[in-house]
């Protein structure tokens, strides 16, 4: 039972981190109708800046710089590529982001090489004991920070002018533009926010118990894709639900690896995708996504 509680808690905290990534993914999709396959590179860029800068300017300043850099990078991709693309189809736009991702990830992994970079975080490898259950301090911080960020975002999305503009643009871009919403600005800010969230996620993907940031960190971000999809690509709460489902699934499948040995080694990495396929079979637009209705 203790193991189960531990795994569940770990799953929820890593799931909250996936939710941060998935949320960025969903925001971009809502604002510019692009599936951003370059999200992994935004994440890796943010984490890389933090890891590079922290010995020189301290952890907190480095974190701020990493977040700012990833936000800037996101905005740059929107400004230089997405905005200028005349591609009619969304598939083509998605493929452009793949091109961007290939360039950025190749350059970043070349710089990282075979190193494992420390993030210089103040939590180290301390462990918190809650009764019989023990959990790494970083996991608790991840959970708290992710919960705070997601709540802030959802509130902002609901109550601020920016959130209203965003929702209007997502609902019906043309009408929103006629009502005075500047679509280009909405889209730019969406990319920046998504980049910032990805950088925070990168930090928590690379701190204890993970050894540090390395070239595989970007592939950890891949698990946010099923999270965003199974929640529903155009639903912000869906991203949260999806992130938690993916995190808990992965944690349990990895934790009960030995009981699941008939499924092969490394089932924890694949389980989220299996869950996604099952959910998509039942609900093709994800759990909370909008079903596309066509009336003829």
């Amino acid at each position: 039972m203790t193991t189960f509680a531990e795994l569940l808690l770990n799953g929820v905290s890593i799931g909250a981190v996936y939710a941060l990534i998935a949320l960025g993914f969903v925001i971009i999709f809502k604002a510019s109708e692009v599936v951003n396959f370059a999200h992994a590179s935004l994440l890796l860029a943010g984490g890389f800046i933090v890891a590079e800068l922290h010995p020189r300017i301290g952890f907190w300043a480095a974190l701020a710089a990493g977040i700012a850099a990833a936000a800037l990078l996101g905005a740059l991709i929107e400004f230089c590529v997405i905005r200028r693309s005349k591609a009619a189809s969304h598939s083509v736009l998605a493929i452009v982001t793949i091109g961007v991702d290939i360039v950025l990830v190749t350059e970043l992994t070349r710089r990282i090489g075979t190193d494992v970079l420390a993030m210089g975080d103040p939590w180290g490898s301390r462990v918190v004991h809650l009764g019989p259950v023990s959990i790494a301090q970083t996991r608790v911080v991840a959970l708290v920070v992710a919960a705070a960020l997601i709540t802030t975002f959802l509130l902002a999305f609901k109550y601020t002018g920016w959130g209203v503009a965003m929702r209007a643009a997502a609902e019906d871009g043309e009408t929103a533009a006629l009502m005075g919403v500047r679509l280009s600005r909405v889209s730019l800010s969406a990319w920046a926010v998504a980049g910032a969230l990805a950088a925070v996620a990168a930090l928590f993907l690379a701190v204890f118990p993970t050894p540090g940031l390395d070239r595989t960190t970007a592939s950890a971000a891949m698990k946010a894709f099923p999270a965003a999809i199974l929640g529903g690509l155009d639903s912000t709460t869906g991203a949260l639900v999806g992130g938690l489902i993916v995190g808990v699934t992965e944690s349990l499948a990895t934790g009960y690896q030995s009981e699941l040995s008939f499924l092969g080694r490394g089932i924890g990495d694949v389980a989220p995708f299996l869950v996604m396929i099952v959910i998509l079979l039942v609900r093709p637009a994800g759990l909370l996504g909008t079903r596309e209705l066509t009336r003829v």
Partner: protein, 359 residues
Amino acid sequence: MPAFKAIVWAAVAVAAVVAPFYLESFWLTAGVFAMAAAIGAIGINLLTGATGQLSMGHAFFLAVGAYGYVYLAAEPEGGLGGLGLPTPLAAVLAVALAGAAGGLFSPIAGRLKGAYLGIATLALIFLGQHVLFNAGPVTGGYNGRPVPPLEIFGFVFADDPQVVLLGVPFGAAEKLWLLAAALLALAAWFARGVLADRPGRAMNTIRDHETAAGVMGVPVARYRAGVFVLSSMYGGLAGVLLALTFQQTVPSYFDMLRSLDYLAMIVIGGLGSVGGAVIGAAFVSLLPEVLGRYSEALPLVAAPGSGGFSPAEASRVLYGIAVVAVVLFLPGGLLGLAARARRALSGRLPHPSKSRSAR
């Protein structure tokens, strides 16, 4: 200009047949890879380019083809299983197997759209990698397993036994070149037929407006699932050919990057056409070979480990940039560029309907 076209095609055919007598084996092997990739790219161009269904799982179907052929053709030995079928039969069955795998996925492929389908197919890659690494008796696990050479009526597609034709020794590379060229011609001819006829028009209508297609009587879900199966079979054929060329299947080859390669190919070459797939496949698969071979002579490209861009990294960056640049500046891909140049040379204005259907 049908006569002109016929002359061009005849020249291409002659060049394909003559090439093994003149090219060194490095270029022949690279060419076989490019032709295998072209077959796979034609398949995904039918799906993503012509029908508008984003698939990131193409490498999975390559793997089904490659491993299917190996398992069906190999004799069981050691811990590895195999059926020991005649190799041509194994190749045909492997392609059918890839189609069946696509068919199994079709309840999803027929219903999901756009990004949902793209990421659902991404799951195929992760599941596929998991199976390739874990199903040891079939796949050979991490190290993969050796590929039995194809043998048609006693003619073996391997270095041994050696055939000498007109004074040129014909090894595996030379023989596979001719096989790949023949298969590519067949695959391209069939895909052109599909695209030029009724199914092609239905596919393009689904891409452009799905609801309208349904209203006009196109059985949308059936078409989408059918194209998915067809594209999987093209992937399977490419996989068989790749396995024959590698002579050893390795699981890590069939990963997500490979799927992205194929998407890059069709975008760079030109979406929705056979020629575009072939040009894009040649570009993406020959770029690392060229950079690797001439890395000493090229600025910015350095030997691996020396701190600069290795040839593999340089080619990835270059083709990533190519994807972005093509989408931004050349909506029709390289093929569209060629068409534009031809029009400019003949001084004719493009007809709007032409440029639309060329996409």
